[in-house]
């Protein structure tokens, strides 16, 4: 559990982060989103004390970060930035080994961890361990950057625009990879982005910042259904709001009793996907199957539309 309490940062007369408080549950992704200059990065950098807060504090599992020596604190928090900052004179393996080496892990343990992480990221250790960063593609560099941040099993992973340097196709894949790995490792992540799509795609909770202030903090659906200010409404966009909502909701949320003809849709899929299937095959309803494949009910166009309106 990460608690951010009344964090404020001022440079002279300008307030960059103004009295921001929120909590991050363990094993979840919190996305901080906002326009550039909103203070997102500064907020993130105050968590690992790259920037010292003017006032307020950050608690990790109840422990005030100010009571931990800076470098020790950063060894416990992974950090990924746009451009990744891989050490160009070190190999992939040496890059990943950075924090474990600082922590004094033994050689064997470091080697095992490097292999484990490269495997996790589908980079063949035999091929990639000895490569230098300039020999990697952008997507590979990004993966190595995240692997390096995860190397010492940090309690928290901070990511500042980690996908900003990738082209759209690779970016989508990188986001899915991050989600998969986060679910697998149960990692706690705070991620900063200016991309609303990315925020909705990745965030368990979204914190919207504007002009140094935290405007709204909550689950993605709440931003759509109850935007706190006109700014949030503008940021999320009103035109495709129902579709966004459907892409956040599961099929089981609009489950109706009864039977239907056709190929079943998965209960764990999104309503957005279900609606898309219904429209494409020209049916009014389709059966819904659970994880084991047995039909548990049906989903209908009218049901989905009703869900979209009611939310």
């Amino acid at each position: 559990m990460i608690e951010i309490e009344r964090l404020t940062k001022r440079y002279g007369d300008t307030t960059v982060v103004d009295d921001v408080s929120f909590g991050v549950e363990e094993g979840t992704i919190t996305v901080v989103v906002g326009t550039s200059g909103a203070g997102k990065s500064t907020l993130l950098r105050m968590i690992n004390r790259l920037v010292e807060p003017t006032s307020g504090r950050v608690l990790i599992d109840g422990q005030d970060t100010r009571s931990i020596p800076e470098d020790d604190l950063r060894h416990r928090i992974g950090y990924v930035i746009q451009g990744y900052g891989l050490f160009p004179h070190r190999t992939v393996a040496q890059n990943i080994a950075t924090v474990p080496r600082l922590l004094g892990w033994d050689r064997k343990r470091i080697a095992d961890r490097i292999e484990e992480l490269l495997d996790l990221y589908q980079l063949d250790p035999a091929e990639f361990a000895t490569k230098f960063p300039h020999e990697l593609s952008g997507g590979q560099q990004q993966r190595v950057g995240v692997a390096r941040a995860l190397a010492a099993r940090p309690e928290l992973l901070l990511m500042d625009e980690p996908f900003g340097a990738l082209d759209p196709v690779i970016r989508a894949k990188a986001q899915d990879d991050l989600l998969a790995i986060q679910r697998r490792l149960r990692a706690t992540i705070v991620l900063v982005t200016h991309d609303m799509e990315e925020a909705f795609h990745l965030g368990d909770r979204i914190a919207v910042m504007d002009q140094a202030r935290l405007i709204q903090y909550g689950p993605p659906a709440e931003l759509l259904t109850r935007p706190a200010e006109a700014f949030v409404e503008r940021l999320v966009g009103t035109a495709d709001r129902p579709f966004r909502l459907l892409s956040l909701a599961k099929v089981e949320d609009a489950l109706e009793p009864g039977l239907a003809e056709g190929e079943p849709v998965a209960a764990s899929g999104t309503l957005y996907e279900a609606l898309s299937r219904l429209m494409w095959c020209g049916r009014q309803d389709l059966p819904v199957a659970d994880g084991t494949g047995s039909v548990i009910g049906r989903v209908s166009i009218t049901g989905i539309l009703a869900y979209g309106r009611s939310a």
């Binding site: 790259l50 950063r74 930035i81 050490f87 160009p88 390096r148």
Partner: protein, 387 residues
């Protein structure tokens, strides 16, 4: 290979080399003969300076190089031909000394003249051009330098050149030559080492404390603009004052001599070392520094594990500038009794003995050249690992 090795359209540099060779063979004296070391010289052409067969071999070899230079494009062939040319003319000029000097005359002097120098220049140009075109890696360049040095050593120690005037100057000063050589290298490299020891930390300080940067670089800039003789003069005052203390005197510090020379060279060395350290550190990518901080590298770890290794090529470039500059400047130290190769240069000027001047000048040039090649290779090697 797409381009033909033989061509009828002449190569531009090759043509120039051929013209040089032509002038050297037909219009310029090969050696100069003088009755004694400061007498006026008399020119001797190739056929006057060498036995007929040797002269024919030399002319034949030189013409062959000229033909290769004009018509052959392949770098490796040009390199081989030019190297062969150097291998022929170098012993020939030694041989001519014995041929021209009347038997038993120990006062007469023979030194290489325009023709020899032109041939040497022409062949060296061709070698340098071919080596550039071959795009040798750093190790290969170091290898080429070693071969050249070994060939030079062979010529010097085999006695092939013992008849030449410059080596006669050397023979009468063999002891002092090596002690001055040692002094020269110590002055140049010692002051460089001191400058690195002081300049590197100073550069790091400038990088981390931007407020100090302007002040420190300004002072070093001003020092750099003081002419060397003037700086030697300025330093004599405080060092002369220091010499009054027994401890300083015991350390060998005097107003004149090696101490002011060392200090002056040290001061000149500081700017390139400090400035390049600052620039090198500035050019470490900001994301790399940010990532290093974010992962919890301490200031020290960040400096030694990340920043300095990445700045190394630029820092080495500064050291290269300083070393080449110091090897040259150390010559001037002789003016204030600092010793070094300059001793021979200034003695030679005083005696109007040009060979003595060359005895000081040629090793200086050779040292600077070798230092430049070695450090360029080092820079490239350090760059290779930090790309």
């Amino acid at each position: 290979m797409a381009s033909p090795h033989w061509t009828l359209s002449p190569d531009r540099l090759g043509s120039m080399v051929a013209v040089l060779i032509g002038i050297a063979l037909y219009a310029a004296p090969f050696v100069t003969y003088r009755a004694n070391r400061i007498a006026a010289g008399a020119a001797r052409s190739i056929f006057e300076a060498l036995p007929p067969t040797t002269a024919f071999v030399l002319v034949g070899a030189a013409l062959s190089v000229a033909i290769v230079a004009i018509f052959v494009r392949r770098s490796i062939v040009r390199l081989a031909a030019a190297s062969l040319g150097l291998v022929v003319i170098a012993p020939c000029v030694g041989l001519s000394a014995g041929f021209v000097t009347p038997a038993g005359n120990t006062f007469a002097r023979v030194s290489p003249a325009l023709g020899f120098w032109l041939l040497g220049l022409a062949f060296s140009l061709l070698v340098a051009d071919a080596l550039t075109r071959l795009r040798l890696g750093p190790w290969a360049r170091l290898g080429a330098l070693s071969i050249a040095a070994a060939a030079m050593a062979l010529l010097l120690f085999s006695g092939a050149w013992d008849g030449l005037s410059i080596l006669k100057e050397y023979a009468t000063r063999a002891d002092s030559f090596w002690s001055e050589a040692r002094r020269h290298v110590l002055l140049a490299i010692g002051s460089l080492a001191a400058a690195v020891a002081v300049g590197l930390p100073l550069g790091v300080l400038c990088h981390r404390a931007p407020r100090l940067r302007a002040a420190i670089l300004q002072v070093l800039n001003v020092i750099q603009t003081i002419p060397s003789i003037a700086l030697f003069g300025i330093l004599m005052v405080p060092l002369g004052y220091l010499a009054a203390f027994p401890l300083a005197a015991a350390l060998g510090i005097h107003g004149i001599g090696a101490a002011p020379a060392f200090v002056a060279l040290f001061l000149y060395s500081l700017l390139p070392v400090v400035a390049n350290t600052v620039v090198g550190l500035d050019h470490v990518p900001a994301t790399v520094v940010d990532a290093a901080r974010g992962m919890g590298l301490s200031n020290r770890q960040r400096l030694f594990d990340v920043e300095l290794p990445l700045a190394l090529p630029v820092i080495l470039a500064g050291i290269r500038i300083v070393l080449v500059q110091n090897l040259g400047l150390a010559t001037v130290a002789a003016l204030i009794g600092g010793g070094g190769f300059g001793t021979f240069v200034f003695q030679g000027i005083g005696q109007t003995a040009i060979d003595l001047v060359l005895l000081g000048a040629i090793p200086t040039v050779a040292l600077s050249f070798a230092a430049a090649v070695i450090l360029d290779a080092a820079i490239e090697l350090s760059n290779g690992t930090s790309q």
